[in-house]
Structures are given as C-alpha cells and as structure tokens.
C-alpha cells in the first residue's frame, strides 16, 4: 500500500471525461452496468442483513476493510444499475485515506449527465450508499 494513490478529485475528473464520451443516456447506463459487472464477486458470507445499505429498494451489500488508515470497499447488489452505481463509488473511494472519504463531496455525480436519475430521493438509494461508505470510513 505504498503506491501513490490517485486523489479523489482526479478520479472524479477521469470519470466525468469518460462519461462525456457517450452522448446517449442509454450508453451511459450500459457503461454503468458494465462497471458493475466488473466488480470482483463478494463472498456469500458477506451478504448479510448487517451489510445491507439501508434505503435501497434493491439489495446492496457493502463491506469495508481498513489498512494503514486507508479504507477499501467491497460491494455487490442484486440489481445491475445499483451494482454499477456502487462500483462507480468504489472506484472513487476505495483505497483512499479514511478522512478523505468522510469529507469527499462527490460532485462528479452531477456532472456525468445522469443527475436527474441520481437525485437523493430515488429508489436506487445512491445517497444511502454514500452515507454508509462515509460512516464506515468514520470508524476508528
């Protein structure tokens, strides 16, 4: 874990640029779904009630491990778009210093052109995912 890690803002910029490549909302969704498919599988033993993200209508499991002040996320969902969204967040936040995760403002969400869909009250529970990630990062 001595590698220089990319800053959150840099990864966010990378993602924004990546999404600019698609001019069709359907392609953006396809991209999100592919990101979900690329997530490493989560062991069945981690798919517990306790690891569920509250507020999501589909099931999202999120676990974290902390090494040397950095937090690593592992996640899965039974719905593909939700899984893609948690993959997107994992890509930005996994491996970051705990404190950076807690204070991240994650503004990139509003800039990838799916802001309408990702609003806080939506059933996909995007806000719930971010809250749970920050809470896990805020632990000792």
């Amino acid at each position: 874990m001595t590698d220089q890690i990319k800053k959150i803002e840099d990864i966010e910029r990378e993602i924004i640029e990546e999404f600019e490549f698609f001019d069709d909302w359907a392609d953006k969704y396809s991209h999100i779904i592919e990101m979900g498919e690329a997530l490493p599988p989560l062991p069945e033993s981690d798919k517990t009630e306790q690891n569920l993200v509250p507020g999501c209508q589909s099931r999202v499991w999120l676990v974290a491990e902390i090494q040397d002040g950095k937090i690593f996320f592992h996640a899965d969902s039974d719905a593909s778009i939700t899984k893609g969204l948690i993959a997107l967040l994992t890509r930005v936040l996994s491996g970051q210093p705990q404190n950076s995760v807690v204070t991240a403002n994650l503004d990139f969400i509003n800039q990838i052109g799916l802001g309408k869909h990702l609003s806080p009250t939506r059933a996909n529970g995007f806000t719930g995912m971010i809250r749970k990630m920050k809470m896990l990062a805020a632990r000792e």
Partner: protein, 428 residues
C-alpha cells in the same frame, strides 16, 4: 351499453396530464390520478364552508354535515347496498381492516346471534383464514390479532397464475379448530386476478365464520355490488378510485356493527360520558372517533359522481381491452407475465383488472423501472406489499404496470418501447 369514450378523451379532466407532459402514468394500482371535479369539491369545502360537522347549530355546519352524510349515502348507492348496510369512514382500507381486527379482539359473545362459531371471542387455536396473495394490509392486522389472542393465521396457497388454490378447502377440514374469520381480497394488486371467492365464502358460511373482503382493487375497476360480494364486511379506499388519499370505507351489516365494540375512543363516538364510564354511539358514528376526513369525503363524493357518469361497466370493458392488448404485446416479445395469459383474459377464462406484473429474464425489476423512468414511463417495481406472494413465486420483486380509465394503447406502446430500450441496454 352506451359506451363512454375513455383514455385520451378523459385526460383533459385530469390536471396531472397538462402539468406532466410526456409522462406515461402506469401506476394507478398504487393510487389513481384525480380529476378536476374532485380537486374543486375539496377546494370549495376548504374555501367556502370549512367548518366542522355534526352538532353545529349554524347553517354552514348543517350544510357541511349534509354534504358529508350525503357521501355516505352515495357510497352505499355505489355499492348497491341494501338498507341494513352501514358505511363507516376510515382513513383507508388498511385502517378499515385494523378497525375490524381490533373490534373483533374485544368481542366476547355479542356476535353469537349472527355467527355460530362466535359463541365466544377469539381463543387459542381459532383459525383466521387468509391467502398468500394478500396485501400486507389484509395480512399483518390478522397476524397481530392472532399474536394477541393465540389464534392462528392459515394461508390459502396461490397458483402460478396468481389465482387461489380452491382445492385447499377439501384438503383441510377446519373442524378441529374453530374457523372464526375468512378475510380475502377480491382482486390482486399484483396480478390483477379477480379471485373466485365462492368456495371460501361457502366455507365461512358453513362454519359460521365472519367473511370479509378486501375490495381495494375490486370496486375501482369493475361494476360490483353488495350482493355479488355477499360478504359480512368489505373494505376499500377512495384514492384508488379518483378520490382523495386519507379516506376509506368499512361497510357491514348495521345490526352486527351495533353489537361490536368501538375501535378508537374520542369525540363523536359516544352517547353519554360519565366518570364511571361511557356509553357508545350507534354505528357508523361509534367507529368514527374525532373529526373525520370531511374534505376527503366531500372530494370522494365528486369522484363517485364522475365514475357513475362514466359507468363502471365501461371502466371494466376499457381496462379489459387495454389489458388484453398489453399482455399480447408482452407475450409477443417473450417477456414474462406473472398472471393469466392474454388468451385467458380474452376468452374470459380468468377475470383480470388492469394490473400487470411482468419481468425480463436476467434483468432486476428495479432496473426495468429505472430505465422506464428515463423514458418517461412511470411503473412500480418491488414486492407491492405482497411479500408472501413473491416468496410463493420465488422472486424478490416484480415490475408492475397498472391501468385506469385515462390510459390508452399509446401508453402501452410507450411501455413496450421502453422495455425494448431495457433489452438493448441490458443486452438481453
């Protein structure tokens, strides 16, 4: 039959469409949209005579009382209910059923003259019979009642197409334990199936049990009548049938209701209050403690007038044709339809209201809903408050499109276009 044009022809009666251009609303099973006449009736009450009802000694209160009570009559007329039937205003189907469950818990032997299995109140191992297909509002109140009394809830299993397994009766005698309550929905909010309740009604009658119908999805979609339901109680909500939220009905025989203990205590439900105790008012007021939903009732009156003008036979016919069209489209595309097939519906083998649960192999229902939302099509994805039915079908959720009088074939076409988009995005 005088056909009244529905679909686009009535959309101008609903401000929703003008205010939400481009939205295809296919979630009327959750709640229906409201026509201007309903909104105006509510506004008129709140603007012109927003005073409390009953015991007012001034003209405006008398007017409000008359309008409120006239809706009670309109509800009973809508149900084609005979004179001995009373309608209680509640805040919805859920409260209607909770009212019944709580009152029945307090019954000792008052119901014996009406129901031979009610020589005593609910006791340990008495049976409350419901089905796996019940909405949680006709399930959890009975589980809670069972928990409080030691009675047990028995579930009629469902078939793959959502209908009830009638053979369940012949396989179970119900003679070892007292069958006290049979509580079933007339129409499923998930599959739209109109259940054949006859064998279960007969079972209740044979055993001297109470027979209650959750008619929340029945009354709004077809012409129904008290005689057809032939139940001891029926419960339904105003908001599923163009009326306001926060209003429901529990209808039942006045003589039966007059021996039943109250639900909530408070104003309006009393006859005489003394320090030593209180005597209760007659039904329906006994069960309507506190200021009732006056504006909502008045709004519901306007909704019933609107539906009467259209005619419920027309509503049923319109939904039937539209449902058959939608099912045929789903089948043509090879998508899964949880419920009767288009053939079943067209041939009349199965009666079905306009609620269609469907799925696309390999795509989570929430993902279907998300993509449809992007295309402006509003459906619902989830367990639809029917987790037992989902468990019986072995799925976590379904996608559900549901229809009402303002929908037409264009809406179905937009749904199908949206589903093609889902297919494309998910490469299924």
């Amino acid at each position: 039959m005088n056909t009244y044009p529905l679909g686009k022809s009535v959309q101008h009666d609903f401000p929703f469409f003008e205010l939400n251009p481009g939205i295809t609303y296919l979630d009327s099973t959750a709640t229906s949209l409201k026509p201007s006449v309903v909104i105006e009736a509510i506004t008129d009450y709140y603007s012109r005579y927003s005073v409390n009802i009953h015991r007012g000694v001034y003209a405006l209160s008398v007017e409000a009382t008359e309008k409120f009570e006239a809706v009670r009559k309109a509800v009973l007329n809508f149900l084609q209910a005979p004179n001995e039937i009373e309608a209680i205003f509640t805040k919805g189907t859920t409260e209607s059923i909770n009212l019944l469950a709580v009152s029945l818990e307090r019954v000792k032997k008052e119901l014996a003259p009406f129901f031979s299995n009610w020589q005593s109140g609910l006791e340990k191992d008495d049976v409350i019979l419901i089905s796996e297909s019940e909405h949680h509002s006709n399930l959890v109140p009975w589980q809670m009642l069972a928990e409080r009394t030691g009675a047990k809830v028995v579930y009629i299993p469902v078939r793959a197409d959502g209908s009830l397994q009638t053979e369940f009766i012949s396989q179970n005698e119900f003679s070892h334990h007292k069958l006290k309550i049979v509580a079933l929905s007339a129409t499923s909010n998930v599959s739209g199936v109109v259940h054949d309740l006859t064998p279960f009604r007969e079972l209740a009658r044979k055993n001297g049990a109470i027979f209650m119908i959750d008619a929340a999805q029945a009354i709004c979609h077809a012409e129904t009548s008290w005689a057809e339901f032939s139940a001891d109680f029926i419960a339904f909500s105003a908001h599923k049938m163009l009326g306001p939220t926060g209003l429901g009905i529990l209808a039942g025989n006045r003589d039966v209701l007059s021996v039943m203990p109250p639900f909530h205590g408070g104003g309006d439900m009393i006859a005489l209050v003394k320090k030593e105790g209180t005597t209760y008012n007659h039904p329906p007021h006994r069960f309507e403690a506190g200021t009732p939903p006056i504006a909502e009732a008045i709004g519901f009156g306007a909704a019933l007038q609107y539906l009467n003008k259209i005619g419920m036979k027309n509503v049923e016919q319109w939904e039937h044709d539209l449902t058959a069209y939608a099912l045929a489209q789903l089948e043509e595309n090879g998508w899964h339809n949880y419920g009767p097939s288009s053939d079943d519906v067209i041939s009349g083998r199965v009666r079905k209201a306009g609620a269609i649960s469907f799925g696309i192999e390999g795509v989570h229902p929430h993902d279907i809903g998300t993509i449809l939302d992007e295309t402006g099509v509003a459906i619902r994805a989830g367990h639809h408050c029917c987790q037992l039915l989902m468990q019986s079908w072995g799925v976590p959720a379904t996608a559900r499109a549901s229809l009402y009088i303002y929908n037409d074939r264009d809406d179905i076409d937009r749904l199908i276009d949206g589903l093609r988009m889902v297919k494309k995005i998910f490469k299924k």
